[in-house]
Structure formats: C-alpha cells, structure tokens
C-alpha cells in the first residue's frame, strides 16, 4: 500500500500502462509541455517523450475523432478532455462514431479508446464548465462510463479501461484530485462494472458514485452519531456496465433507498436506478425510493450558493431522514 493522491493514482495508472503497452498514447490540450491543466500528466512527457505524450490544439471534435480513428487501427489512445464539459464540442465523434462504429460494422471494428478528464461542479466555474454528462454518455449502448471516487478506484479502474476493447469514458473530479488514499502497489486492476460497498449498514442504503460517495459517508457518520441510524453506502464506481446486483443485495438488507448524485434530476443515472430497483426489488422496499440530486438549474457561479445547489452532507442528511420516514 502507498498513500497517494487521486491525481497521482491516475498518473501512475497512465505511466504503468504506457510502460506495459507501446500502443498506448496520451493526447490532449496542455497534457505534455504544460504538465496538464490539473497536473495529472505531470512528468509524463519527460518520461515517455513527445511521440507518446502529445499536446493538441483546441480542436476537441478533431482530436477526439482522430483518436477514435487511430484506435480502429489498434493504437490505444487515452485522450484528456481538460473538462468533460467540452465533450459537447466533440459530441458527434463521441456518440455517433465511438458508440456506433462497432455496431454498424457488424462487429468488425472496435474502438479501444479512453477519454478522461474532470466532470464536476463545486469549483465556481459556472454553467459552461460544470457539466456531469455520465447519464448522457451512458444512454448510448456501446460505451462504458466510469466515475471513481477514491485514489485506489481511480487507478485500478483506469488501468482496466485502458486495456478494455470498447470506448471507455472516465469521469474524474477536480475537487478530488488532491485527496489522499491508500492504493495497493503493483499491477492491480479493478474490473469495470463492479460496485463497492464503502460502508456497511442496516437501516438505509445510499446508492451513489463519484464525489457524492464522500459526502454520503460524511452524512452517514452524522446519522450514526446524531440519530443512531445505520447507513450502507454503495459506490457504483461504473455507471455502465452497472452492477445492479450489489445494489439489490443492499436493498434486500436495508429495505430503504436514497440515491445521491451530482446530476440534474431529469433522466439522470438515479432515474434509471430507481426504475431498476422498484422493478426488481419492489417487495423488499418499505417506502418509496428517494433521491437527492443537484438543484434543477444550470450551475450557478456564486460560490456560497453553488454549495447549496449541489448535494452536500447536510442536504444528504435531511434527505436520508426523509427517506426513513
């Protein structure tokens, strides 16, 4: 085990995969000479050289599409979006080309590409830079969507994503980059599609992912101390493939569900989860499924108000109590 940051965990995954497989290349804006806008790729240019760590112009549609094309020939590009918010510039490449090429070619072509970068609010960068597109991405069969909450998960899941033969979209979080956690040494892979129970409990299941896992754990501590309520926190880790079995096992134990997500509520990941839980575990539920999401509006800039727009431990605590009524 070593104690490293979420940022370092991602960097180590990149470095290990670059070392292991000569087909892996890293491309994106400011990833090389500038060491990454969020310093995730720091030092990689020096170590792997300019043919493997490549600075691109600000042309998301062009360079994401280029990475896809190269992946059809067996290159394994790991593309950085400085923010996932900029995916919309490359929407056609991501959702028409990446998601559909395999299908339309009758399975003859596959695209082993990874697109990674931060996708989160909470840093007061306003509506254009605070998108959380995991639901939009996961709406497209053919792609995989990963949202890690801890350094260990970030490393193990990114390594799996790079070795995966389907397009993998890896959504990080600028607020988590500096978080420190235990990460196992060596070539440890975490399979895509495996949820993780981050806290065991008996009274309420919180299903969540990404930064909201940490908020939920904080809320669970408060619920335990102040209300004597035992909360189980299930971290999905990947949105598609979705580990519904782990979710259902927890629901069978607690019979109460709160979904927490840093998503706008309409047609979110939580909407899909709620449908599946009621469909497959209706008789296990002692009450309606509750959900806490981002307040339904574009991301507000004003720093103290943005905190209230997003899920936070206090809002989760209130929602948990409501779910237990």
């Amino acid at each position: 085990m070593s104690l490293i940051t979420y940022r370092e965990a991602i960097r180590h995954a990149l470095a290990e995969e670059l070392t292991r497989d000569a087909n892996v290349v890293v491309l994106g804006e400011e990833v090389a000479q500038f060491n990454g806008a969020y310093k995730v790729t720091e030092g990689l240019l020096e170590k792997f050289g300019p043919s493997r760590i490549v600075d691109t112009p600000i042309s998301e549609a062009g360079f994401i599409g280029m990475g896809l094309g190269a992946s059809m020939l067996g290159v394994r590009p790991v593309m950085e979006l400085m923010f996932w918010s900029f995916y919309s510039v490359a929407f056609d490449q991501i959702l028409n080309n990446a998601a559909n090429v395999r299908y339309m070619s009758g399975g003859q072509i596959n695209c082993p590409i990874v697109i990674r970068g931060p996708a989160n609010g909470g840093t007061n960068v306003g509506a254009t830079h605070s998108h959380t597109p995991e639901n939009v991405l996961a709406n497209h069969p053919g792609v995989k969507v990963i949202v890690p909450s801890t350094p260990a998960d970030a490393k193990g899941l990114l390594k799996s994503a790079i070795r995966d033969n389907d397009p993998c979209f890896f959504l990080e979080n600028t607020v988590l980059y500096g978080n420190i956690g235990e990460v196992p040494e060596g070539d440890i892979l975490i399979p895509l599609g495996l949820a993780d129970v981050k806290r065991a409990g008996t009274d309420l299941t919180i299903v969540t992912y990404g930064r909201c896992v940490l908020h939920s754990l904080a809320a669970a501590d408060l619920l335990e101390k102040e209300h004597d309520i035992s909360v189980e926190v299930v971290d999905l880790r990947t949105i598609r493939p979705l580990d519904i079995d782990t979710v259902l096992a927890s629901v069978t134990k607690t019979h109460r569900v709160l979904i927490v997500e840093e998503q706008k509520p309409f047609s979110s990941v939580g909407s899909q989860l709620a449908y599946m839980i009621q469909r497959e575990a209706f008789d296990e539920l002692d009450g309606p499924i509750h959900r806490l999401a981002t307040v339904d509006a574009p991301a507000i800039y004003s720093p103290p108000v943005e905190t209230e727009q997003l899920p936070n431990p206090q809002r989760i605590l209130t929602a948990a109590l409501a779910a237990l009524e």
């Binding site: 400011e30 112009p57 900029f86 960068v125 004003s302 108000v305």
Partner: protein, 369 residues
C-alpha cells in the same frame, strides 16, 4: 509619469522604463484626427480603468473574495478599447471568457462587474455567470462565453440578425489565437462569407493559448485562413490604440456599408498567466514579458503619443490613474457590501415562462427534483 511613479507593488503592471514620448504614426489616420482631445483622453481613461479594475480584482481573488477562474486582460487593453470605440448604434460585440476589457470598453460600470466577480446579486448577471460571463445586451454586448470558439457562431448570428433587419451595422466576434482551431470557427467563416454577413472576426493574438504558443497550435498564418473563403483579412498592431482604430475602421465600414465579412488578427500580449491559477512557468520567459511591458505597453504607448501631441499632461495622466484606482476600490467596497443571491434564486432566470408565470402558455412541469 503617474503610471510609473507608483512603487513597484507585486501586482502592478507597469513598464519599468519610460520610452521617449513620440506620436504614433497611426495618429494621423482620419478616424483618429477626427477625435477631439477630450475623446482621446476618454480612450486613455478607459484603458487605465480596465487595468486598475483588473488589478483590484486580482487582489480580491487573492483574498478569496472571488471563486472559479479569473482571466485577466492586462496588456491587451488597446484591442478592446480601440475596437469598441468604433461602435455605432447598430454594431454589436461578442467575445470569450477574457471579457472584462470589452465590458468596460462598451461602457459597463465597474460596480456590477466587480459584484459579479464576487458572486453577488448586484452583479451584471446577478452572480450567476461569474468572470467569464459578463453580458450587457443594452450596450450591444453579448458576452462573455466560456467555451473556446463557442461564441463565434453567435457572432455570425448577430451579423445575420443585423442584415435580416435591414440595419447598417456590424458584428465584431472576438476570439483568441487558440480558438481559431475550433471547427465551429471555420464553419462560421464559411457562413459569413457565403451569405455575405456583416461580421468582423477579430483574432486577439496574444501569442499563447494557455501554455501553448501559436507555433505549437496553429498551421499557417491565422488571418490568411480567410483566403480559403474569399474573405478580406489583415493584421493590426494591437499595442497601439490608434493603429487598432485605423485598421478596424476600414473593416467595420465594409461590413456596415457593403455587408462584407473579414478576419482581422490583432497582435497583442497578455502579461498575466492564462488565468490567475496559471503559474506561468513552463512556456515563456520572464524576460519576454518584461520586454513587452517595457517597449509595447498599450497604455504607455498611447500616453506617450498623447503627451507628444500635447493633448495630455503628466498631471492629468496622474489624475486619471488615481481616479481609476479609486473607482476600482469603490467597486470592491460595493461588491463587498452587496448581498449574495439566495438558494431560492437558483431556479430563476432558467425559463422565460417560469419568470413570467402570468403569461405562461405551455403545460406541464418545468422543474424536477
């Protein structure tokens, strides 16, 4: 010289050496000789106000009064002020996230701008937009846009609107040297040229897109890409406000009078990092920045020209500077004293219908939880 007599505070952007006073060659262009001395002083004042406003905002950022990004325009003042000074009533402006200079250039007041940076409800966007999203449609200023290149199709749309309504006006669509590589920009060039729309695309070439120099991001010469679309193009010295006015005047006239689009590259330089968060240590030398400050500072260049013309005195320059500093301080006090929006404000300004319920025509729920 007032602009250099200040102690060299760490965040004050001053040229270290005063170049000898000389009039700018572009001062004799008709669009510039037409300016009354008071109008020239007003242009200087706007540039100084931009600089002092931004220096004050930087201090507020360092004091954690401002969140998110803060992209400073310091060093580029002559571009926005020169271009905006040419605006007639049917001319419109749109730009990217480095938008404070254009905002003051079109005549917005400091108070609502500073309050926006502080995230207060008295801000120009009620604290909802932040630094990258200043707007003043009443001043023909359409923002303030965070996605690189995303504003350029909107600029073409402003030009389309001007033409459709039969007005004699022009849209100025500003972008950086990095934005030219977005597909949307090329599509916009084609639309403007194909339909002969009165759009002047202004590339503010400050040499870098974040940490990437022009040479590392762009093939060929930036403005010459217009040739492929049969559009006029040119390059202007953006350190000299007179040159900006003289150069842009011709393109704006062609747009207003003949509905001709153009691509104009204005060469400029930013002194500060890409945003306040940029350590500015990997892609250019301190000596390069110093050289620009020393020899090409747009405020200094214009001030020298006005001194040589006898329009400005050292005492007046000092007064302008002091007033700009005081105005910036007042705006910070105003912002500080203003209230934040409340959580209840999060869901206003999303739908016109929701904000005007008495005139609602549609059915069904607009918001979800």
């Amino acid at each position: 010289m007032p602009l250099v007599s200040q102690p060299a505070a760490s965040i004050s952007d001053q040229p270290a050496v005063i170049p000898p006073a000389r009039p700018s060659p572009a001062a004799s262009a008709p669009i510039n000789t037409a300016l009354a001395p008071t109008a020239k002083i007003a242009l200087l004042r706007t540039m100084v106000r931009i600089r002092r406003f931004e220096e004050r905002s930087l201090r507020a950022y360092q004091a954690k009064k401002i969140g998110g990004f803060l992209h400073l325009y310091i060093g580029q003042e002559a571009v926005a002020v020169g271009c905006c000074s040419l605006m007639g009533k049917n001319d419109h402006v749109i730009t990217a996230y480095r938008d404070h200079g254009h905002a003051l250039g079109v005549g917005m007041e400091m108070n609502p701008l500073m309050a926006e940076l502080y995230g207060k409800s008295t801000g120009c966007s009620k604290g909802k937009g932040g630094s990258m999203h200043f707007f003043a449609p009443d001043k023909n200023y359409w923002g303030g846009h965070g996605i690189v290149g995303g504003q350029i199709p909107l600029g073409v749309g402003l030009a389309y609107g001007i033409k459709y309504k039969g007005l004699k006006g022009a849209a100025m669509a500003f972008m950086g040297d990095g934005a030219v590589n977005q597909g949307a920009v090329h599509e916009s060039y084609n639309l403007a040229a194909l339909w002969s729309l009165p759009c002047v695309f202004v590339i503010e070439n400050n040499g870098y897109s974040m940490g990437t120099s022009q040479a590392r991001s762009s093939a060929g010469e930036l403005a010459r890409r217009a040739e492929g679309y049969g559009m006029a193009h040119g390059v202007i010295d953006g350190h000299d406000l007179y040159a900006v006015r003289a150069g842009m005047d011709a393109y704006l006239r062609a747009a207003r009078e003949q509905s001709k689009p153009a691509v104009v590259e204005i060469r400029t330089y930013r002194y500060r990092g890409h945003s306040v968060a940029d350590p500015d240590s990997t892609y250019r030398s301190k000596a390069e920045i110093e050289e620009y400050r020393r020899t090409k500072d747009p405020i200094q260049v214009f001030q020298n020209s006005l001194l040589a013309e006898g329009v400005l005195t050292a005492a007046l320059a000092e007064q302008i500077d002091n007033e700009a500093r005081a105005e910036a301080d007042v705006s910070a006090d105003f912002a500080e004293a203003s209230p934040y929006p409340t959580p209840a404000d999060i869901q206003s300004d999303v739908y016109w219908e929701a904000d005007n319920p008495s005139q609602r025509k549609s059915q069904g729920r607009l918001f979800f939880d």
